[in-house]
């Protein structure tokens, strides 16, 4: 237990790294929070930690995962938010303040890391930033081995993201939990190569891909460590390609498994929690849990080995905290009542005994009205 780290964090008004506190104490605290939750309203931090330790809080914790949808509140253009950490913090905080929730996931787009590895980017006015796929860094297989590590200090987008984390951690303080983010090395490589060619390379040229994953991971380790040092108590690793909509299970384990394990270990060594986000079709919960042992599993679809939410809770409910699973399509076309009905159904199936945070399966669609985001938060209060 690093008392100095805990004290310094509290002095700054931010949540200390959870695992600087011995686990038995945390479990005891979670039990106490759960008990208190039966007779009074918990704070967002208490509620979320209680659920993370598989104790039922006063109600189910919730996050609308607004991300860049929150820019509608102030009218901030996409590019401004993508390139300026302070502007991003204003946007995300306004979303947290306006819509509510217990947890704020910081995620700008899936190309932050790739941009710093030299990928030419496009910053559309009406959508999140993306690679210019006409100019990929990795044009052919031989280019994988030309990839070199970069200095985090010179990585401008990652530095802006760290600034964004720092501002948010201080601004949110004890009002909620702030989650950091990193795209897994396979994801970063796909941004540098194009997904279609990357998938084929994973089968035809695995050695080259694995070597490049090592290079990417060496930088990502520094990146997630920096987020932890700033005060983010939990970091989501996005391992999108561990799903049937992407790589075969065994291939994913070879290409990305060992590297996300390194990232997970680096985060835990800093005393922070690991989350996994995967909005792919039929994600491989089993191997992602095997390699990363995350405290949180955020998914949009049932895993490949589960046929129902009930089975999901039975199989994985004790091993990790489940986050999700409101479908994106429902948020687009559903009425607030339909959204709340679906939230209620999921709460009934997944919230018992803690270990569940209500959330969309993926980030809230950026260009649709925020009405259904309010519906999600309201559903947690009403039915949670």
């Amino acid at each position: 237990m690093n008392v100095a780290k805990i004290f310094n964090a509290l002095r700054k008004g931010i949540i200390p790294p959870p695992y600087e506190i011995p686990k038995p104490l945390l479990k005891l605290a979670a039990s106490a929070m759960s008990a208190r939750g039966k007779i009074s309203t918990l704070t967002s931090v208490e509620r979320t930690f209680s659920a993370l330790y598989h104790k039922e809080p006063d109600r189910v914790p919730v996050t609308p995962l607004l991300c860049s949808a929150a820019r509608q509140i102030s009218g901030t253009p996409f590019p401004d938010m993508s390139l300026d950490g302070a502007r991003a913090a204003d946007v995300f905080y306004s979303g947290f303040d306006f819509v509510g929730g217990d947890f704020v996931q910081l995620m700008l787009d899936l190309s932050v890391e790739a941009a710093d590895f030299g990928q030419k980017m496009v910053y559309p006015d009406n959508a999140t930033a993306r690679p210019d796929y006409g100019s990929p860094v990795i044009r052919e297989v031989d280019d994988y081995k030309k990839l070199k590590p970069i200095r985090l200090s010179e990585a401008s987008r990652m530095q802006e993201f760290l600034k964004f984390c720092e501002i948010m951690v201080k601004r949110v303080g004890f009002k909620g939990i702030v989650g950091g983010f990193a795209f897994g090395p396979a994801g970063v490589l796909s941004m540098l190569r194009g997904a279609e060619n990357f998938f084929k390379d994973c089968l035809l040229h695995p050695k080259e891909v694995i070597a490049a994953s090592e290079t990417i991971t060496s930088v990502l380790v520094e990146y997630v460590e920096a987020q932890c040092e700033i005060g983010v108590p939990a970091i989501a690793l996005d391992t999108l390609y561990a799903s049937t909509s992407a790589l075969p299970k065994k291939v994913w384990e070879e290409i990305e498994g060992p590297f996300v394990k390194q990232l997970s270990n680096a985060i835990k060594k800093k005393g922070c929690m690991v989350g996994v986000h995967n909005c792919g079709h039929k994600p491989y919960a089993d191997v992602q849990l095997k390699w990363m042992e995350p405290e949180v599993l955020s998914i949009a679809n049932l895993p490949d080995d589960c046929r129902s939410l009930r089975e999901l809770k039975e199989k994985y409910g004790d091993r990790t905290t489940l986050v999700g699973l409101i479908p994106t399509q429902l948020l687009i076309t559903g009425t607030p009542m339909e959204v709340m009905d679906e939230c209620r159904r999921q709460i009934d199936l997944l919230a018992k005994g803690g270990g569940f945070i209500l959330s969309p399966g993926c980030e809230y669609p950026p260009n649709i009205p925020l009405t259904n985001a309010f519906a999600i938060v309201e559903a947690a209060k009403k039915y949670g």
Binding site: R130, A195, E196, F199, L247, T333, P365
Partner: protein, 213 residues
């Protein structure tokens, strides 16, 4: 080599994701004894088996992509060998593209190949296709179906506008949509005639909407 064995080698070459094997089969001297359409059908059969493997989770997406590559290698070679080759096709013509604002074309590329292999005349417009580009493509190719793809929800409004323009300016042309951000309900809400969830259902859905009056 017997003719049946050559056709089987071509079919297997696609199914086993082996463009070299397809190439080697198409280089055999006995090829001249075969009808071009039979050669194409062998390629298509290999891809259809790969598609059914995908449906049954025996193939992954990357494996299916490699099977498509082997199929395309075969088609390219056929066209080179027989410039006048005109395989038996369905009457209907399909233009396909990723809508303006979106550049993710993996799904679109898969669908285009599946429709091509099943006999449709497919004209791939590419990605970030504007309304005017879709309309021009429909007119140029006398298309019966406009297949629109998107992955990101941020381009949904564009897709809706394109569908409305097609319905206004090209009545009789059917629209078919697909992509990660969509489902049946959204497809109906934006006015599309059809929705194809994936390569596994696109052929049946294309046939269904063509039969609509």
């Amino acid at each position: 080599m017997r003719i049946e064995d050559i056709l089987l080698k071509i079919e297997k070459g696609v199914l086993e994701k082996n463009p070299e094997s397809v190439q080697s089969a198409l280089s055999l001297p006995e090829i001249n004894e075969l009808q071009a359409d039979d050669l194409f059908q062998a390629l298509a059969k290999g891809l259809e088996t790969a598609r059914r493997n995908l449906a049954a989770d025996r193939f992954s997406i990357p494996e299916f992509l490699l099977a498509i590559d082997a199929f395309k290698t075969g088609v390219r070679l056929l066209n080179e060998m027989l410039p006048d080759f005109s395989r038996k096709k369905r009457e209907s013509r399909i233009v396909i593209g990723v809508v303006e604002g979106d550049v993710h074309d993996l799904g679109k590329n898969i669908i285009a190949s599946v429709l091509d292999a099943s006999g449709y005349n497919v004209f791939d417009l590419g990605k970030e296709i504007t309304c005017d580009m879709f309309l021009a493509g429909i007119k140029k190719h006398d298309a019966s179906i406009a297949a629109l793809s998107l992955m990101m929800s941020t381009s949904l409004e564009n897709m809706k506008k394109i569908i409305q323009r097609i319905q206004r300016d090209c009545p009789g042309v059917k629209t078919l949509v697909g992509g990660a951000a969509l489902n049946q309900q959204i497809a109906m809400a934006i006015g599309s005639d059809g929705y194809a969830e994936s390569a596994l259902t696109v052929m049946e859905e294309a046939e269904r909407i063509l039969q609509q009056s």
